[in-house]
């Protein structure tokens, strides 16, 4: 039976009805890092704690990846099925800008300053152990106008 497995432990809360990105905050200087790390790259302290960074943020910069990357890129796509994807930095309320894939892949759908929300999505199917597990990653998409 296939499961939904995070691509890497500790990037986001999972499984969860309302997943949050996870990072670390320095006990000494309060700077935030993503992904979480045991040391602080601001002050060098070795005391950090895991914190939730939130599930919404503001787009700080963006681009569109138009060609399929070489390895280590590892998706289910082939050169024929590859679809361009957005990449951007999203400013999180937790106090850090996180680099992420973005759902929109056309320039007209992306704008610096737009509100974005976190999605946890299946990225590829793991065939290596025959389990057929869905490998889950994070992505941001525009917050729809109400």
């Amino acid at each position: 039976m296939s499961n939904q497995v995070p691509i890497h432990e500790g990037l986001f809360t999972w499984p969860s009805a309302k997943p949050q990105l996870l990072g670390s905050r320095c006990v000494n200087c309060a700077e935030t890092a993503f992904p979480a790390q045991p040391d602080c790259r601001n002050c060098g302290s070795r005391e950090t704690t895991i914190v939730e960074l939130g599930d919404q943020g503001i787009l700080w910069s963006w681009t569109i990846q138009t060609f399929m990357p070489k390895a280590p890129y590892k998706s289910d796509e082939t050169a024929e099925t590859f679809q361009p994807y957005g990449v951007g930095y999203v400013e999180m309320p937790g106090g850090v800008r996180v680099e992420s894939r973005l759902l929109p892949n056309k320039p007209e759908d992306l704008q610096i300053g737009m509100p974005m929300k976190l999605d946890i999505i299946p990225f590829r199917t793991d065939g290596t152990d025959g389990s057929g597990d869905q490998i889950m990653t994070f992505r941001f998409s525009p917050v729809k106008e109400a």
């Binding site: 992904p35 601001n42 963006w62 681009t63 990357p69 990653t137």
Partner: protein, 380 residues
């Protein structure tokens, strides 16, 4: 102890089928030795590096097993800058009188594909398609244009100038000038950067013979002086390549700190520079580096480019040989090509691309992953 550059050599950048990267490095060393009128056995030490073409010290198999001290340097795109800094220090310390700095490379076609683990990053970052230098330069340029009112016109003008300069440079890889329209209509690779706004991984070699300035007259009638070589890494908060996250407060880039250190050590300022090489992995980055190196204010580039200030006959000639855009980037050699070109200009040997009015002070700047910069200042 001052440091002199007494020999310069290049193995033409681009593609050299049938030649290994190392052979291209050896070719550059032979050219530099010939330029200096010296032989390999005169070299007391060597620093060298390559990313994809093997250990630099294996060059002794090509050049001769003379027993010299040979140290391999690897520092990303700033490998050449770091090698030159090491050699500069070796002369400054008084330990050696004369030695060689060499860089070479031979990359496969297409964008670089670095491995996350080599940069202290977990595999997911590469697997999900974010470990690309092209993306970083696009993201940094996108934000910079937003913050400082730079338009696409400036991106196009940088490329236009690069390929014009390439067309005047016999050693350049890309020697065909491209029109504004050709660049503007080229394929979008990573918004806002188009095909003709990116440099490509390539092949080639570059070498310099450097020596104790007190003895330079023994070897050369036209020595140049390496006033300073400064290499700096990123600070917390600077926006750099291969960063899964960025701090909220943006700090000065490594380029700013390397540039300031170099000017301070040399005792001169940006206004004293007559010709310069600024890392142009893409046209957006050249624009950003103009300001980060102190040559203009942020946002001023738009006007400067429209006026042609960065052209060969402009007030601040940048990348007179076409830079990385027209020469491609063999990582190990690229930073030394910059120094080579500045030396050509200071010697007045630039031919069709010679900067007028007898330039006396040159500047080179290289930027590499994951956020380090090397700056050199060279004088007559």
């Amino acid at each position: 102890m001052d440091v002199a550059i007494i020999g310069i050599g290049l193995h033409r950048f681009g593609r050299s089928p049938g030649l290994s990267g190392m052979q291209q490095g050896a070719s550059a060393v032979r050219n530099a030795l010939a330029d200096a009128g010296l032989s390999w056995k005169d070299m007391q030490f060597a620093y060298g590096g390559s990313q994809d073409a093997g250990n630099a010290d294996a060059l002794v198999n090509e050049l001769g097993l003379t027993g010299l001290q040979f140290t391999n340097i690897w520092n990303g795109c700033a490998t050449g800058g770091s090698s030159l800094h090491a050699a500069y220090s070796a002369i400054k310390s008084g330990e050696y009188d004369v030695g060689v700095v060499v860089g070479f490379d031979k990359h496969p076609r297409g964008a670089f594909n670095p491995k996350p683990a080599d940069w202290g990053i977990d595999e997911w970052y590469g697997e999900t398609g974010m470990m690309l230098t092209t993306q970083f330069f696009a993201l940094k340029t996108q934000r910079y244009m937003h913050d400082h009112g730079i338009t696409e016109e400036s991106l196009i003008r940088v490329s236009e100038k690069a390929f014009t300069n390439g067309s005047l440079t016999p050693t350049a890889w890309r020697q065909q000038a491209l029109s504004y329209e050709e660049i503007a209509n080229s394929a979008m690779i990573s918004d806002p950067l188009r095909k003709y706004m990116f440099c490509s991984p390539a092949e080639g070699g570059a070498a310099l013979i450097i020596c104790n300035a007190d003895k330079a007259h023994l070897y050369s009638s036209k020595p140049l002086y390496l006033k300073t070589a400064a290499v700096r890494t990123r600070h917390y908060g600077s926006f750099e390549v291969f960063a899964p996250s960025q701090a909220m407060n943006v700090a000065d880039a490594s380029t700013v700190t390397a540039s300031k250190a170099a000017f301070e050590q040399a005792g001169i300022g940006p206004e004293d520079i007559d010709v310069m090489q600024l890392q142009d992995t893409d046209s957006g980055t050249e624009i950003i580096h103009m300001a980060e190196n102190g040559f203009c204010e942020h946002g001023e580039q738009e006007k400067l480019l429209r006026e042609g200030a960065t052209g060969i006959n402009g007030s601040m000639p940048i990348n007179t040989d076409g830079g990385c855009l027209a020469n491609g980037e063999p990582v190990g050699a690229s930073g030394l090509r910059q120094v080579y070109e500045v030396c050509v200009q200071l010697r007045g040997e630039g031919g069709a691309r010679q900067v007028p009015n007898n330039p006396k002070v040159g500047y080179t700047h290289v930027y590499g992953a994951p956020g380090l910069s090397g700056v050199n200042i060279i004088t007559k």
